[in-house]
Amino acid sequence: MAEIRLEQVRKAYGGVVAVHGVDLTIRDGEFVVFLGPSGCGKSTTLRMIAGLEEVTSGTIRIGARDVTELEPKDRNIAMVFQNYALYPHKTIYDNLAFGLRMRKMDPAEIDVRVKKAARMLGLEDFLARKPKQLSGGQMQRVALGRALVREPDVFLLDEPLSNLDAKLRVRMREEIARLHQDVGTSMVYVTHDQVEAMTLANRIVIMRDGHVQQIGAPLEVYDRPANLFVAGFIGSPEMNLIEGRIEGADFVAGNLRVALPPGVQASGEVVLGIRPEHLALTTEADGVAFTVRVIEQLGAQTLCVGEAGGERMRILVDRVDSWSPGQSVGVRFPAAKLHLFAKSSGQRVETAKP
């Protein structure tokens, strides 16, 4: 158990910078998710924490130790790989025991730990099998078990659920969450799936092009995205982003005019953000006319693509059966749910006191 601190951690391959100075403190027992599109530097950062990639500059500390120059084996970390990386010629038992045997642990203690991990993960019946004889979900559990038996300071998980089908991914997500509650060890988890990030994380670190975009609790990131990239990346369906300008107390884009909350300190060119689920239905007299173009029925909810004041946007509302393309309905832009971003920098402009 320990805190992990990254101080100005940077990685360059020749002239190409993969990770620009990352500063981050992962508290003891925290579940931190690195989220971002592929090539954003999230896996590289994780692998630097693991010691599988050398750090170009900066410092990594686990607990009181500076581990920047240490080999992976000396960092007291355990890692779960996307393709599981189980030793194919060893039995499940030997896969679980391998790391402990390499550390010359007492065989009796190894047996206790392996059996305990197998019990926690429901692998007791598979211990004599080889990885090839297991399903993807079972192999992923073995990979988790291999990390678990080590009782490390921190678990590092590199897109552990990417190779699983959608249904299994949800189940394994729950298992990982439960595992984290049970063992209470810090976990650093890399994914490109924002749902995984939202559901698992205590804090999300959103990265893009090697830069950290925002660090925050899932709902904090959802409620107050720091910039346009985060606004577009977090949330499904995506946030509506409308380019326009400030005119007095209103946001104006084409024929669309939206009243902003009082006290907004912005002017000129801005981007207005509003999530599809925050656009509220109302009468046409009260709100803005919205022309329905495409209707997607999701079951409990209806997702609709259309136009308001000439701007294309999506709304997500409780199920409506009666709409048809071309129809006009009224939508309201609740002032408290609006996000504003400076068009030039893409940075958030505060619309209300948090």
């Binding site: 992976p72 970390i77 393709n83 790391g99």
Partner: protein, 286 residues
């Protein structure tokens, strides 16, 4: 129907070629071993198992069997050890790797005669570069083909030189299929480089190792050209294996039946050895 006819057509041609070029000569060779013949034109005389009895009673047969085993074992061991070593080196990233990979296969592309002549020049008693080097180091001259031990060593040396590239290529191909994440997982698990070799590399190479050793064993046990060109089985039979002995019987001693009997025994021994090999090292599908 026509597609079925085509299939049978191909099958028939394949079978006919196999029968004519492989089965028929093999059957003919085995049948020869039951006759006494001093040439391929004279009338053969049925002698039953007399050829086998004569061959098995001759000490030269047992000596040739032992020589063949030593030669095959020696060259396989060095080919495999060197092959794995070179493959590991060529699998690492270094400048000019592709060039070195290409060059490393060259000895395998040379005709056997060229390799043998090159080797003979290198160890030539008067002008050989190896001879001069040995001389310069102040060591006594090595009688490459005159002393039995040195002759056997030179046949093994040349074989290793020629076929290690093949083994290297096989292992290199296999190494490239090993996922890097296995090595990373093992690094996290606390292994040293040596432990990673024995716990990951070697087990992952095992299927190809099984096949390569088998193929090399068969080819080396039946090897004729290298030994014939280098030593003709000499000195005084020190490097003579069953293939050479069989040839000598059939074409030098005008004992075609005896030569055929030796070839047949050699074939039977090899078949049994291969069966045992597969029994001990089954080709697993994992």
């Amino acid at each position: 129907m026509s597609s079925k006819a085509t299939i049978y057509g191909f099958l028939f041609v394949g079978l006919a070629v196999t029968l004519a070029l492989i089965v028929a000569p093999a059957v003919y060779a085995v049948s020869l071993s039951f006759y006494q013949m001093d040439s391929f034109v004279g009338a053969p005389k049925w002698v039953g198992f007399a050829n086998y009895v004569a061959v098995l009673q001759a000490p030269e047969f047992w000596r040739a069997l032992l020589n063949g085993a030593i030669y095959a074992l020696g060259s396989i061991v060095f080919q495999v050890i060197l092959g794995i070593g070179f493959a590991l080196v060529l699998n690492e990233a270094f400048p000019g790797r592709n060039l070195v990979r290409g060059l490393s296969i060259l000895p395998y592309l040379l005709p056997t005669v060229v390799v043998i002549l090159t080797f003979k020049w290198m160890v030539d008693g008067g002008i050989g570069i190896v001879t001069k080097a040995v001389e310069a180091m102040g060591l006594p001259p090595i009688n490459w083909f005159e002393s039995p031990g040195a002759a056997m060593a030179s046949t093994i040396l040349v074989s290793v030189w020629m076929w290690t590239p093949f083994v290297t290529t096989c292992f290199l191909a296999a190494l490239q299929t090993v996922p890097q994440s296995l090595y990373e997982a093992a690094r996290v698990d606390g292994t040293t480089a040596v432990q990673r070799f024995f716990h990951i590399t070697l087990p992952m190479l095992k299927p190809i190792l099984t096949v390569v050793v088998l193929l090399r064993a068969i080819w080396m046990f039946n090897k004729f050209d290298v030994i014939w060109l280098l030593t003709r089985g000499g000195p005084v039979g020190a490097t003579e294996n069953l293939a050479i002995l069989s040839y000598r019987h059939a074409f030098n001693l005008f004992d075609i039946g005896g030569g055929a009997a030796i070839a047949t025994i050699s074939f039977a021994l090899l078949s049994v050895a291969v069966l045992i090999y597969f029994w001990v090292f089954p080709l697993e599908d994992d």
